[in-house]
Symmetry: C2
Subunit: 415 residues, 2 copies
């Protein structure tokens, strides 16, 4: 794809975004439902395209993990369609009056939620992102410009075409969803610099993509970064509760970013707690500091690197700390700023932990696994931001909006 | 300054930010008041340093505009001190619960306003920014890392030292305010890439600085961009009101970003309105489209460039438009996204204008000059954001904060 062709796609996105900004909620919701039906109607074509993508990936020697991320099925398509219908049922963020007041001179000031314009999404492998991202963008009245990976190109094209057909049927511009059908590295580099087109870039991928965005993007972005999440078991913790939470945080779904990666235990309860935990954590590879290895026979020594690692697997690191300060220091040093939990019955310890841990989410006596858009009531999420600006933590529809001042007067001038 | 020295300053900022995050409102307010007194006590030393800066600038051939921006006086120092006292009287944004709710499983979720950490400010000439920026950062519990220009280096050092003395007297870390005493270009380039240190970069300067940030910064930033503001006088406008507003928007302070730069007039009222306006705009250089030149004898033809220019002077461009759509198209093409006003008595026109103009602020029947932190009740502002992410429009204390999820449970695990 030439620069000019990419720019032309950009212009089409911007044009579509202008029409969308003004669309009624009911029209957007209808478009989402039509898009869902369209996905189901075209399932066969989507699965055929997907089969070709998978064949090519296999021939190119892709790992089974990648194949699994690529692969669609009737069930997965139904999930995508269901996702779009769920988004249609969320309340519309656009038009919400965030704040309103009257100034002494009679000016009525409102801050009104508005769409951002064009959302750029760069993603890898998973073709369902095409549909999930498009749904959230459409609901929030943004056009979406999608750039998937080469591996899922045919699947993405088939899905995008289905969505576009549904959107058009509802009377909205099909260019609300546009796919950049070129997965070359040059195009990504160009894409993340389309400052006149992209109002928000959402990179969905691994470290390499995030680094590329941090180093080279000139459009605004939000980073959905690593989740090196900690659970700290305080001296005053209810150890039965602590055990339940640690098991849940580590084992319920180890491959996601809100899973626990490091357990910190107060020295006063370390011996008994780690001993009982060793039984219930069977199947999890344990690496720990010196004391941990003393209390848990199956633990092997953890390296500095281990404490900094988001394993995303049945593996965890453990450290025994002298007190709350030790836990806070460990977290300040190693945390990726995603989610950290304290298990305690001590009011002051809970308050200090919540105040001093500088992460998107802090939890008291609950599993880190709750840090998720749907668990926190956002309906759906486009990612979990580990940055501090614009959106922090799970990003729902509001993260895809901006706020505009609307100021109503009757002739006021400034003196 | 070597990279290592800059990194060391960064570490000191981060350390100070951790202490600040936990400071009581009353302590921060006391620090602001002590800093104000300290500025007044050290006036002579500050003015001496300033005199040296000015001598050097003159010798280097600086323009009178630059000298004026550089120059301090007893009055200007009093204004700086007054500014700090005013900020101490604003309510503290930190700890504000932005939103709170209980999930069906009993988890109590709060979103709590917290400091960002370290704010980096790059600025040019005006030494008062040293004090103004430091005040807002201190109030919002952020450390500030300042990098002024070479021209005002001695003034900035003297001001920063005064502020630090006041902060220390209140028992807070003086490193809450740190000045990078090196104004070389290499240091700026390094500064805007201090990703482990700077949580938010606020560039305060001209186009060159903004371009540098857009192209090279890898830290998060907010851009306080141009204000190419429009006023559209609709066919249904009260022309007397329109005249008052246009005069105010253009003439009350032409050098600021919320001043009007372009007037758009509906064709039906253009002849009479522009004729009466020509008298009241005496002293303003007028450039306009063909029809404007027909109605205003003193207007000269406007170039494409003129319509895109933020004059910041007693000069304005004028265009006659066929209808509201024409006005919206003109604004979509030329606006910098700052502030635009419509003068109308037509309900539908006002509503469409507010909805369709994609700017930080839209006004109905009021002067664009109101788009300002203090006029909108924010107390003080660190700038006016023309970007859509994080903060849009006048940025007060809240723009210097983030929001963290605090989740309170009693043993919940995810099923």
């Amino acid at each position: 794809m030439t620069k000019a062709e990419l720019a032309e796609l950009g212009r089409r996105s911007v044009a579509a975004s202008r029409t969308l900004a003004d669309a009624l909620s009911s029209t957007k919701d209808q478009a989402l439902c039509f898009a869902a039906s369209s996905l189901l109607e075209r399932s066969e074509a989507i699965l055929e395209a997907n089969a070709t993508d998978i064949d090519r990936a296999r021939t190119a020697g892709a790992s089974e993990t990648i194949i699994d991320r690529l692969a669609l099925s009737h069930t997965r398509i139904q999930q995508m369609a269901h996702g779009l219908r769920c988004v249609s049922e969320l309340s519309d963020p656009i038009g919400e009056i965030v704040e309103g007041y009257v100034r002494p001179n009679g000016l009525a000031v409102r801050r009104v939620r508005v769409p951002l314009g064009v959302i750029g999404v760069v993603y890898e492998n998973r073709p369902n992102v095409t549909s999930d991202a498009a749904g959230l963008c459409l609901k929030s009245a943004n056009a979406v410009l999608l750039r998937g990976s080469a591996s899922s190109l045919l699947s993405n094209i088939a899905i995008a075409e289905s969505l576009r057909a549904g959107i058009e049927k509802a009377g909205l511009p099909p260019d609300a969803v546009l796919l950049v059908e070129d997965a070359s590295h040059e195009t990504v580099e160009e894409f993340i610099k389309m400052r006149d087109v992209i109002d928000l870039l959402v990179p969905r991928g691994g470290h390499e993509l995030v680094s590329l965005v941090l180093d080279k993007a000139t459009v605004p972005y939000v980073i959905d970064g690593d989740g090196n999440c900690h659970v700290y078991v305080d001296a005053s913790a209810d150890l039965e509760m602590a055990e339940k939470i640690v098991i849940n945080a580590k084992m319920s779904r180890p491959s996601v970013c809100n899973a626990m990666e490091t357990l910190l235990v107060h020295k006063d309860v370390a011996a008994s707690f780690l001993a009982r935990l060793e039984v219930s954590l069977r199947g999890v590879e344990l690496v720990g500091d010196e004391q941990t290895c003393r209390y848990m026979s199956s633990a092997t020594p953890a390296s500095e690197e281990d404490f900094a690692t988001e394993f995303l697997a049945l593996k965890m690191s453990i450290a025994v700390v002298g007190d709350l300060d030790g836990a806070l220091r460990h977290i300040a040093r190693y945390s990726s700023g995603h989610s950290e939990a304290i298990i305690t019955s001590d009011r002051d310890a809970a308050a200090r932990f919540c105040r001093e841990v500088d992460s998107a989410a802090v939890l008291v006596n609950a599993s880190t696994r709750f840090v998720d858009g749907s668990e926190l009531g956002l309906g759906a999420e486009i990612g979990i931001s580990t940055q501090k600006l614009h959106a922090r933590g799970p990003m729902g529809l509001r993260a895809l909006t901006s706020v505009k001042y609307v100021i109503d007067g009757n002739g006021q001038v400034r003196t």
